[in-house]
């Protein structure tokens, strides 16, 4: 007997399709009602499938729970998920996927309690794939840095959508944070998922002036997809270079690093967003391409310092202290007094700092302006540098480490550059 061809399975597909059309027309209440009918029909068939056809049973059971969630019937989704898990007859993967959906039903119910009347919550998942990532387990540092970067970017997207001037430093303005909260929810996915929920705040002064949270998450995903196509495309989609640069830094830091995490997929389980936004995938190639673009200075050739970020000083001038691999301490400053949102996460970690050639201020003190701070995974490995620059779509770093360079500094091959030996002499500060 064909269960996929069962009349109720076909009913379910038809109703779900009609629900999508209603959603596209903006008729959410009709869409929800149709999704609920589709879920009911799908569940009828899923229940009929015998245990010796576990893949088909799993597909239909997952479909049932997904459709209940699309209908925004979390309690029905929870009931169906528990029923299928209890009765069995699923593949191991099917059981796992249903547990994921069950977790989602629970957290949507919980987050819903914290959302003000008329508000809603929008899920966003970053799925880490490959490298040292296992099913439900991933290196803690790799998770934490990406989660922090994603949350920072979400607030930046909200600010951009609100048309606010670019924030050089500090926390988002209160009129953003009172309208939007980002919740962390249990991380579950086929590989490892960073699961966030963007929910409306309690204290919205003017209900007609609410942030469109779906637009925030949808734009976040569009920017991620644009980042996959490179910095210039990101600038085009964001429409403003300062913001685009910050988004490039954030997505670069989230992208696969080639060791702990191979790639990161971005998606939202929100049906309205899911229909429109592409699933963006950022791998190590994207990290390298964005790093290369972020280090373009439009003038002097940058220099790099490899070392450990030891301190950040938030005085009138932002100062960043690096202990170089060569044992020398470097004190650097930022060009625009801007403090990178992601800087805190690098404290006491190994970093590669790209700087302009050192200068001196009016008092004769050395000034090193930072162009970029990143994880060393954002560096081109030597073999790729030598063999595949064109394939990676990168402007080739033509220089090798200069013979006179002290360990820990790398000099790009450009006659305009002051040279690493000068750098080493000028910036012995401590």
């Amino acid at each position: 007997m064909s269960f996929f061809d069962h009349p109720r399975s076909q009913d379910s597909d038809r109703l779900a399709f009609m629900a999508e059309l209603a959603l596209k027309k903006g008729d959410r209440s009709t869409a929800k009602a149709l999704y609920a009918q589709a879920a009911f029909a799908e569940e009828e068939v899923a229940t009929l499938v015998p245990h010796d056809v576990p893949r088909v049973r799993s597909v239909l059971a997952i479909g049932t729970v997904s459709l209940w969630l699309r209908a925004e019937k979390s309690e029905e989704a929870e009931r169906a998920a528990i029923k299928f898990l209890h009765v069995g007859g699923l593949t191991e993967e099917g059981r796992h996927d249903i547990k994921v959906l069950l977790e989602r039903a629970w957290r949507e119910t919980e987050v819903g309690k914290n959302v003000s009347d008329g508000g809603y919550a929008v899920p966003l998942t970053l799925r880490l794939v490959g490298g040292k990532v296992q099913r439900g387990a991933a290196p803690a540092g790799a998770v934490r840095t990406r989660q922090e970067a994603a949350i920072g970017l979400l607030y930046r997207v909200a600010e951009r959508k609100r048309g606010l001037d670019f924030r050089l430093r500090g926390a988002p303005q209160i009129n953003i944070t009172e309208q939007m909260n980002v919740y962390e929810v249990p991380a579950v996915a086929a590989s490892y998922g960073i699961s966030l929920v963007v929910a409306g705040g309690h204290n919205v002064a003017d209900p007609n002036d609410r942030l469109d949270l779906r637009d925030v998450v949808s734009s976040f995903l569009s920017y991620a997809a644009a980042a996959n196509r490179g910095f210039d495309e990101l600038v085009k989609v964001v429409g403003e270079e300062t913001y685009a640069r910050r988004f490039a830094v954030g997505f670069r830091n989230i992208a696969g690093d080639g060791s702990d995490v191979n790639s990161v997929q971005f998606f939202s389980e929100d049906p309205e967003i899911n229909e429109k936004a592409p699933v963006a995938l950022l791998d190590h190639r994207v990290r390298l391409v964005l790093s290369n673009a972020l280090r373009r200075t439009g003038g002097p050739t940058p220099t790099r310092i490899f070392g450990r970020l030891r301190g950040v000083s938030l005085g009138r001038v932002t100062r960043v202290d690096i202990l170089g691999d060569d044992g020398i301490s470097y004190r650097c400053t930022t060009r625009t007094r801007e403090l990178d949102d992601s800087l805190g996460q690098w404290l006491n970690k190994r970093v590669v700092v790209t700087t302009l050639p050192p200068q001196t201020d009016k008092n004769g003190k050395p000034l090193i302006h930072i162009v970029d701070i990143a994880d060393p995974a954002s560096e081109l490995p030597a073999d790729i540098e030598a063999e595949k620059p064109t394939q990676l779509g990168l402007r080739r770093f033509t220089g090798q480490v200069a013979r006179s360079a002290p360990p820990g500094t790398e000099q790009l091959d450009d006659p305009r550059c002051h040279g690493p030996s000068v750098l080493a002499q000028v910036i012995r500060l401590f």
Partner: protein, 172 residues
């Protein structure tokens, strides 16, 4: 030359509403670049080797249909989907169901003569004109491979202008 006929679609028990909707999306997308009743689509594999030629028979859309499907992104995606379904059908698969969201695929298909339990996944993407269908195919194959249903899958990219079909398989 393998015939594909948009004027007489028989996709088994797939919802009639969906088939009709996607068929109109396809003819509107075709009509933006071509003249009915026939368009030749060469098919390329993952290594850009040309494998076959498909001769697609279709009809011109009405003005109302063009107006109703004037969103290029939606009509391209939906139109590509119905053409891809005809392609897999011509390749000996039965289209059985739309896949649940986030399964890494759009459709579930079954090889003719094989049990339902051994289904395949199908992921489809459409390009209105130009672009890089070959790159898109590789992204779609990655998506199929990393989706939540651990089953082999097929990715198809349909480009309307110049007309091309890109076809790849992902064994899992």
């Amino acid at each position: 030359m393998i015939p594909l006929d948009l004027t007489q679609i028989n996709l088994g028990k797939i919802a009639h509403e969906l088939v009709e909707h996607h068929k109109i999306a396809a003819v509107v997308s075709l009509y933006r670049h071509h003249t009915p009743p026939r368009t030749i689509f060469p098919r390329f594999d993952e290594n850009l080797q040309q494998e076959n030629l498909y001769e697609l028979t279709w009809f011109g859309p009405t003005v109302e249909q063009q107006e109703a499907f004037n969103n290029i992104i939606d009509s391209t995606e939906n139109g590509a989907e119905i053409i891809a379904l005809l392609v897999v059908q011509a390749c000996g698969y039965r289209v059985v169901k739309r896949a649940a969201a986030l399964s890494g695929s759009d459709w579930i298909i079954v090889k003719n003569g094989e049990p339902e339990n051994d289904f395949w996944k199908l992921e489809v993407s459409g390009i209105d004109r130009d672009g890089r269908p070959h790159d898109r195919l590789h992204r779609k194959l990655e998506q199929v491979a990393s989706g939540e249903l651990s089953r082999p899958g097929i990715a198809i990219v349909v480009r309307f202008s110049p007309p091309e079909i890109h076809f790849g398989e992902s064994g899992k």
